[in-house]
Subunit: 150 residues, 2 copies
Amino acid sequence: MVDQRDVIDAFRSYLRDHNLPVTNQRIAVASVVLLSNRHQTADDIARELRARGASVGQATVYRTLELLVGSGLAVERDFGEGYKRYESARDEPHHEHLLCTVCGHVTEFRDERLDRMTALVAETHGFARHRHRLVILGVCRACQSGTTRR
Amino acid sequence: MVDQRDVIDAFRSYLRDHNLPVTNQRIAVASVVLLSNRHQTADDIARELRARGASVGQATVYRTLELLVGSGLAVERDFGEGYKRYESARDEPHHEHLLCTVCGHVTEFRDERLDRMTALVAETHGFARHRHRLVILGVCRACQSGTTRR
DNA sequence: GTAATTGCAAATTCTTTGCACATAT
DNA sequence: ATATGTGCAAAGAATTTGCAATTAC
């Protein structure tokens, strides 16, 4: 699915390079976030860890997520749902998201025109652009056909 | 600036049509939101009302914002800042936003290509598109030149 | 007059933080 | 050994809600 334990090792290296202890909790959280292609909430992650029998306190989940984002191995997303989601960075370039308003499923897509377009618009308005965010809200195929997942 | 009291009257009509009392608080909140072209937070609105000597409880501010959004006269925005913003709908069509990450200033722009592009992408992924949201994050002209406003 | 609103304070939801105990190096 | 992490519970921030007092119609 994803390039196996490599990402976890990358996190281990990151921790060592920053003189931060490699704890079981950190590796457990990293595994859930980095070895998945889903866009999970802090709660999703805590629940998944509990299901795996490796419960981690939610404070630790949040603190580890901060490290993962800081390392560049994970990315934080805010789709305006009232909470944040986290996804593995997977060396992938910037991409946009389709969010199903029924089941919460997220699909990704990439469109280079957006990069150019937003850069141009920003310039027109005198803005120094950092980045942009596009979310398309709708109903996914599964939910349209009644086969709601999740 | 905006088409004067008309919008407020429209809100009065909305309230009457729904058998909802036209209270001073509701009109006060509506005035702050509808007669401005800014993207204000609930707190901005409460503060502005206090400054005008017409303090309104924050619960009432939130409850009135819900009515304003429900009436279609105001629009709710979530730029991922951790709180929501509200702007007057002003009969304007869908538009996108540039958000200054330094001062929080918001500028609007419209680009029809986005409508087509997002519709096409959604279709490609089997999504029934409702709407989309694009935010360009950067630093506005004023903040770049050190003339930070707000 | 009566039903609906208002404002306060308490409750909620997501996230962060303080601190005694536990753990990695 | 010792600095750092962990978990719990309390604290925060934005928003919502219950309820007695108040107001619109």
